[in-house]
């Protein structure tokens, strides 16, 4: 049985002892974490520690060798995975925005609901316009990605992902490619989302933001979760020397 009954009192994303290797290189060495519905968690850690790999595994962009990942009870680590069912639950935003350059902002947002969910165009357009407004890009509907700033593109990417009505959003260093001035506008958008109760899993280097927004922080190093906790205790009284060293470098 790949889909078990899921109720909102259970973790919406449940990761258990996940192992992932690229060839001989073991990148995730037994990672476990649970995310409850409406929670915002931040994953931090040094470069190469496996943060991207971990969140890519959640929506099956990477496969795993061992362990279990369940999203609303749907087991991701099976050969017969209903990918579409997973895609409807999980949205993802990438560091490099990855917008479709030949489509306007509005078309980028409308594409998946039209093609994948086969919803009627009128309804999709109405929702897409509302989403563009929500990410504070009113007036940019007809601009092509190449005509938008990085921060604006990233917000279109967030709207595009939201158009599929996901229950969980994954953000992989979505501000890492942005100028310091535009970072804030994207963070505000994510904060709005979190405030509305969207379950968010973020990989980020923005410690101030993580402290402000996260319900829980996970620190990864070399493929394992070294330490985790709510931001208050995590930042004040990290126990593991690796966490301390990382925090001292970045803060």
């Amino acid at each position: 049985m790949s889909e078990t009954e899921w109720t909102p009192d259970q973790p919406i994303v449940s990761i258990k002892d996940v192992h992932k290797s690229f060839g001989d290189l073991e990148v995730l060495k037994g990672v476990s974490l649970d995310v409850m519905k409406g929670e915002v968690i931040c994953i931090i850690g040094p470069s190469g520690s496996g943060k991207s790999t971990l969140i890519r595994c959640i929506n099956a962009l990477n496969d795993i060798q061992a362990g279990s990942i369940q999203v609303e009870g749907l087991e991701v680590n099976t050969t017969g995975l209903d990918k579409l069912a997973l895609r409807k639950k999980v949205g993802m935003v990438f560091q490099q925005y990855n917008l479709f350059p030949h489509k306007t902002a509005l078309e980028n947002v409308m594409m998946a609901p039209l093609l994948v969910l086969k919803q009627p165009e009128e309804e999709v357009e109405k929702r897409a316009r509302a989403l563009v407004k929500k990410v504070r890009l009113e007036g940019k509907e007809d601009s092509y990605p190449g005509e938008l700033s990085g921060g604006q593109q990233q917000r279109v990417a967030i709207a595009r992902s939201l158009a599929m009505n996901p229950d969980v959003m994954l953000f992989d260093e979505v501000t890492a490619a942005l100028d310091p001035e535009t970072v804030k506008e994207v963070l505000v958008t994510i904060k709005d989302l979190a405030a509305e109760g969207m379950t968010c899993i973020l990989v980020t280097h923005e410690m101030g933001f993580a402290r402000e927004i996260a319900d829980h922080i996970y620190f990864t190093d070399r493929g394992v979760i070294v330490e985790h906790g709510p931001p208050k205790t995590f930042f004040k009284s990290a126990k593991d020397p690796r966490t301390r060293e990382f925090l001292s470098q970045i803060l």
């Binding site: 895609r87 993802m92 030949h102 093609l115 994948v116 969910l117 601009s143 092509y144």
Partner: protein
């Protein structure tokens, strides 16, 4: 008016026997030129369309996870790219033509299901198609994996990603090379003369075989027609290229 025009060229042929524009005053020859021109246009349009389809499908198959399919496409490309189109035409018509079934439309005379025109279309389309596969493939390779991954993460399937993301972007990259190849194809249609396809070159050669004084005039017409035909194609392709240009993307 028309009479005066015809009269002028009739006289020109008389005074300058090297310049007999016979197709401008002899209605029978005019008719031959026009049917030849029409055949050339048909051949060009059909082959261009078919070769583009072959290119798109071939490039899609080259990205297939099935190894023997990829090898098949590779073999096809090698064969058609590395052999002369003239030889291909002869091979298709005379060699393969022997093995195709025949039928009798009037109940008496057996004719092959694929005529010489049919073979010319097939042969030329596959010839240009082989190049188109390569052209589209390089365009497809220029589409970043991350863009495809984003589409995948939105739930699009492989075909949708190909149709709505990869192809439109790949097309834009491929257009200049496609342009060149299609120009080549239109010019190569003249080689269909070797299997007696009654296109323009065939008709003009027949005319100057019948009227040797018309040879220069026929050659001149040949060049003019091809300059105009290819000119129209290039203009269309350039317009298409401009129409597909994306604001803020690539070099513009």
């Amino acid at each position: 008016m028309l009479d005066a025009f015809q009269e002028f060229f009739r006289e020109l042929a008389q005074t300058n026997p090297k310049w007999n524009f016979i197709y401008l005053y002899d209605p029978v020859q005019t008719e031959r030129v026009l049917t030849g021109l029409w055949m050339t246009i048909k051949l060009s349009v059909i082959c261009v369309a078919l070769s583009v389809v072959i290119g798109v499908v071939g490039a899609w198959l080259q990205g297939s996870p099935i190894k023997w399919l990829r090898m098949l496409v590779q073999g096809y490309i090698q064969f058609f790219r590395n052999t002369p189109p003239l030889v291909q035409l002869l091979f298709f018509y005379f060699a393969l033509g022997q093995f195709t079934p025949t039928y009798a439309p009037d109940g008496w005379v057996e004719v092959p299901v694929i005529s010489n025109v049919g073979w010319a279309i097939l042969s030329l389309s596959f010839f240009a198609g082989a190049f188109n596969v390569e052209i589209f493939r390089s365009g497809i390779e220029a589409v970043p994996d991350s863009t495809k991954e984003a589409a995948d993460a939105l739930g699009m399937n492989r075909l949708q990603i190909y149709r709505y993301i990869v192809l439109p972007l790949a097309f834009r990259v491929s257009l200049p090379s496609l342009n060149n190849n299609l120009v080549n194809l239109v010019k190569t249609t003249t080689q269909a003369i070797v299997i007696a396809v009654p296109e323009l070159l065939y008709q003009l050669v027949s005319i100057y075989n019948d009227y040797s004084t018309a040879q220069n005039a026929c050659m001149v017409l040949m060049f003019i027609v091809y300059i105009v035909l290819v000119g129209i194609l290039v203009m269309g392709m350039n317009k298409w290229e401009r129409g597909m240009r994306i604001p803020g993307y690539g070099q513009n």
